[in-house]
């Protein structure tokens, strides 16, 4: 029964950045779904969105204002680890607010959690980079590439994944001809591409965002580089596909940590497509969606007036592998609420699969490879959690 009450939740996301805006839109979309079903714990949800400008000071201030002035108990965000981290250490943990990030990948969070400094308040739906790196290496091996150049975005995510995959390649006996950091906001990446061309690799691996990814690939192809490309999930973007062109993406393979072969993932894609007139493309969208959904369900489970700690404690009840499976849409949300109201637990089947958090708030996930097809992004191959783990162990 819908009541005349609203509960505020906070979101601190980089809306002033090209790839940040869709992440925020997706979070809002999840909130809308929850509200359609009558809200959370009997109240409508109002997501107060603040821009971080990718500036830690601004992000922390926004988070603090949301916590202190709007009294939110749940905070979504941020994207950059460099913003999420100070928010965690100086705002959410001291205030006992739950923080759920879609996209921060830094291993520093895991260590912080291990040291017991997150008080169990931090979660993220972005799998640690190890899985993607391993799957990328697996793809290269299966394709039979013997030499490969690595381009990585020079931030915490890129450095992490770039370093990991280089090790994986080496373990597989694939020569890494170059490891090239792609710095943000550079006028031209011509020099970087030229540098990578020197080693004459059979393929390239890219841990890049669409913006610089497009520039690098266009440059790379025009200079006659190979069209054998492997990329991390961040390039899952229509904009990338269009600006590079299908004719060059024939042997492009992407990786992602993704859903098991449930319907939920494709359901999300369909629903998203209907809502936004286009499939989810761009980094972090499914993650953002799941982060929001899980957090809202946990909030529901924790009941009215729950504190951040209460909500955090209920996350396990949403991602219980033995719980009732629920889909990531309005029907699923409504169903989940019913189950939870009855004291049960659910297994949320999200856009990124049936998400499970470990003790540090991290998710590990099965993986998938994907390619660009005529009408969008097509899943190519599903690699189950056990397969991923076995492969990773074989690399050690």
């Amino acid at each position: 029964a819908a009541q005349d009450c609203t509960t505020k939740i906070g979101a601190v996301l980089p809306t002033s950045v090209d790839w940040g805006k869709p992440i925020a839109a997706t979070a809002q979309y999840a909130v809308d779904i929850a509200n359609e079903t009558g809200g959370v714990a009997g109240c409508q949800i109002e997501m107060v969105l603040r821009d971080t400008q990718v500036d830690p000071k601004v992000g922390v201030d926004a988070a603090k204002a949301l916590v202190d002035l709007d009294g939110v108990q749940l905070l979504l965000g941020a994207v950059s680890s460099g913003v999420s981290m100070p928010i965690l250490t100086s705002v959410t943990v001291p205030a006992g607010v739950m923080q759920m990030s879609c996209c921060s990948s830094s291993t520093a969070f895991t260590r912080l959690a291990e040291e017991g400094k997150t008080n169990g308040l931090f979660f993220r739906t972005f799998a640690t980079s190890g899985v993607q790196a391993a799957v990328g290496a697996m793809v290269a091996r299966d394709a039979g590439y013997e030499s490969i150049a690595v381009f990585y975005k020079n931030d915490d995510w890129g450095q992490d994944i770039g370093g990991l995959i280089a090790k994986d390649f080496e373990a597989l006996g694939i020569e890494v001809t170059a490891q090239i950091a792609i710095n943000d906001a550079q006028a031209s990446y011509r020099a970087e591409v030229t540098e990578a061309l020197k080693g004459n690799p059979q393929a390239i691996y890219m841990a890049l965002y669409p913006d610089e990814g497009t520039q690098v690939v266009r440059e790379w192809i025009s200079l006659g580089g190979t069209q054998n490309m492997i990329a991390a999930n961040a390039l899952k973007s229509d904009e990338f596909k269009e600006n590079v062109g299908m004719e060059f993406l024939g042997s492009f393979i992407g990786t992602d940590t993704a859903s098991p072969r449930t319907d939920s993932a494709s359901a999300f894609v369909d629903a998203y497509t209907a809502r936004f007139d286009g499939p989810p493309s761009g980094p972090g969208l499914p993650n953002s969606f799941d982060a929001t959904m899980i957090a809202l369900l946990a909030m529901h489970a924790a009941g009215e007036g729950a504190t951040g700690t209460d909500i955090a404690a209920k996350v396990g009840a949403i991602t219980d592998p033995n719980g009732t499976p629920v889909t990531a849409d309005a029907t699923g949300f409504a169903q989940a609420k019913e189950v939870l109201d009855g004291g049960g637990t659910v297994s949320y089947q999200g856009a990124t699969g049936n998400v499970q958090f470990d003790a540090n708030g991290d998710v590990s996930a099965p993986a998938v490879t994907w390619v660009f097809g005529a009408d969008g992004i097509e899943e190519q191959k599903y690699i189950s959690l056990t397969e991923v783990n076995d492969f990773m162990n074989s690399l050690q």
Partner: protein, 316 residues
């Protein structure tokens, strides 16, 4: 109500920390005419220095010496001073825009270094700083309040130090060198020595701000030392009024308030559809605030006064 208080304390702490950095810049630009385009390098040197000296040990990272807080903070200032000394020796021959771009380059190099050097935390940054005396306080709010008092005290001390300094013959010397170096030299002053002194002193103050900043957030990463911070600190000084310490502090609070309040106001009052554009709109608003300020009061809120040194003024 507690929430509002808690936020205000938080806001004031950040603004006070930034004020200290702005005061350091004012010594360099406002009083000496040194166009330092690399504020973040010195701010960052203090921040990283303090966390390296005072933080806890971590795998693969340099430092983690867990020195007592005040010593770590002081160490951060010393490190900022050393960086400034080296940079100063190289660049202080340059003037105006040339100096600005050279020091800006230093800041880019600094950011690059901390971003790429694994022992300095790389892009992940340095975390794990134990807040000093945290256990003495019951609540986070009380602790924040206490930390604010500490920062405020340092701000006041810095302010008094600078006020006294620029009212002294040293300040007169700085201004003379800002105006006409050749003439000052012909009166027996050594511009290169004085410029270097002022540059180091200002940078050490920025280093203090950096150290406070890093310990307040218990975290520092390359994202904290991007050029935008240099810009923010400059904007605060210019809006407040270069050459005037009171203006510098007021400018900081004002700009920082505008920066944060515009985001807050948009999140509160803008319709939902617009909210996704708030980022861009906020930057447009901030742009208008700065431009409007400069059109309305180009000398800043508190223009520089013609000062006669303190003892002389006192006798008037």
């Amino acid at each position: 109500m507690i929430g509002v208080l808690s936020y205000l304390i938080f806001f004031a702490t950040v603004a006070s920390i930034l004020s200290i950095a702005v005061l350091g810049l004012n010594l360099q630009w406002g009083n000496t005419g040194l166009f330092n385009g690399g504020v973040v390098a010195f701010f960052g040197a203090g921040a990283y220095g303090t966390l390296i000296l005072g933080g806890i040990p971590q795998d693969g990272l340099i430092g983690g010496f867990q020195l007592p807080y005040l010593i770590a903070l002081f160490g951060g200032m010393v490190i900022a001073g050393i960086v400034a000394w080296v940079v100063g020796l190289l660049t202080l021959r340059l003037r105006h825009d040339y100096l600005a771009i050279a020091t800006f380059g230093v800041a880019v190099a600094f950011e690059n270094l901390v971003r790429n050097a694994a022992i300095l935390g790389g892009a992940q940054g340095i975390r794990g700083f134990e807040r000093p005396l945290r256990d003495l306080f019951e609540s986070a709010l009380a602790y924040n309040a206490a930390f604010f008092v500490f920062v405020l005290t340092l701000l006041i001390l810095t302010y008094l130090f600078l006020e006294r300094l620029i009212a002294s013959p040293f300040g007169r010397l700085l201004r003379a060198i800002r105006e006409d170096e050749t003439a000052a030299q012909s009166l027996g002053k050594s511009p290169s020595r004085v410029r270097l002194t002022a540059f180091i002193a200002g940078s050490v103050i920025m280093g203090l701000a950096g150290g406070l900043y890093a310990t307040f957030y218990a975290f520092i990463s390359p994202q904290d030392v991007l050029p935008i911070l240099t810009f923010q600190i400059w904007a605060m000084l210019i809006v407040g009024g270069a050459g005037n310490n009171k203006g510098a502090v007021m400018g900081t609070f004002l700009i920082w308030a505008a920066w944060t309040a515009s985001g807050w106001a948009l999140s509160r009052f803008a319709p939902l559809e617009v909210q996704l554009y708030t980022g861009s709109i906020q930057f447009v608003l901030i742009g208008f605030v700065i431009v409007g300020m400069l059109m309305w009061r180009p000398q800043g809120l508190f223009p520089e006064k013609l000062v006669v040194s303190q003892s002389a003024a006192a006798k008037r």
